[in-house]
Symmetry: C2
Subunit: 102 residues, 2 copies
């Protein structure tokens, strides 16, 4: 059962500086995580429900299963990514594990 | 530029009934939407940030670009999907358009 880490970044004070760090520093850290099958990210541009655009960016990291995800974030590369996340994630950012239906 | 509709369903009163309707009725409606390139859905099982598991399910619908997404939801199949969404989405559910970075 493929699982994914779903990260929802809230609106940064300086979106351009955030994206520069995210794409230039964070993405390379993510890419080095062992067991990562695929990563997808992009900016949230519109709230279609008429509510607030609560989140600035979504990121999804795919792993073969929950054990692979756990091992990934136990690795030095995973720890470095988590440390960088703590540095950049605006308050209220969310992080979930989701199963991926076939 | 690929775009995706990101839907975050909040926790339903009856998760089993929700999933039954979602998988049995809503997914077939989604699958019929013209221009849909890919759809991915799955339950959110854990809030890794220590916060509430605010959302029960994530769904992502991929389109070639913003125009294709607009045309899709202007179609009868898109309208039928939107009507079913209104029927099943628990209060506070969110819907965003995201760009997908290369």
């Amino acid at each position: 059962m493929t699982v994914k880490l779903v990260v929802l970044y809230t609106l940064p004070d300086d979106p351009d500086a955030f994206d520069e760090h995210y794409l230039g520093t964070h993405v390379p850290l993510v890419s080095a995580i062992p067991g990562l099958q695929r990563a997808e990210t992009g900016p949230l541009v519109t709230a279609l429900d008429g509510g607030e655009r609560t989140y600035h960016r979504i990121a999804e990291l795919y792993f073969a299963d929950q054990d692979a995800l756990g091992a990934a974030f136990g690795s030095p590369e995973g720890q470095a990514t988590a440390a960088d996340y703590q540095k950049i994630a605006p308050p209220g950012s969310r992080m979930f594990i989701a199963h991926v239906d076939d």
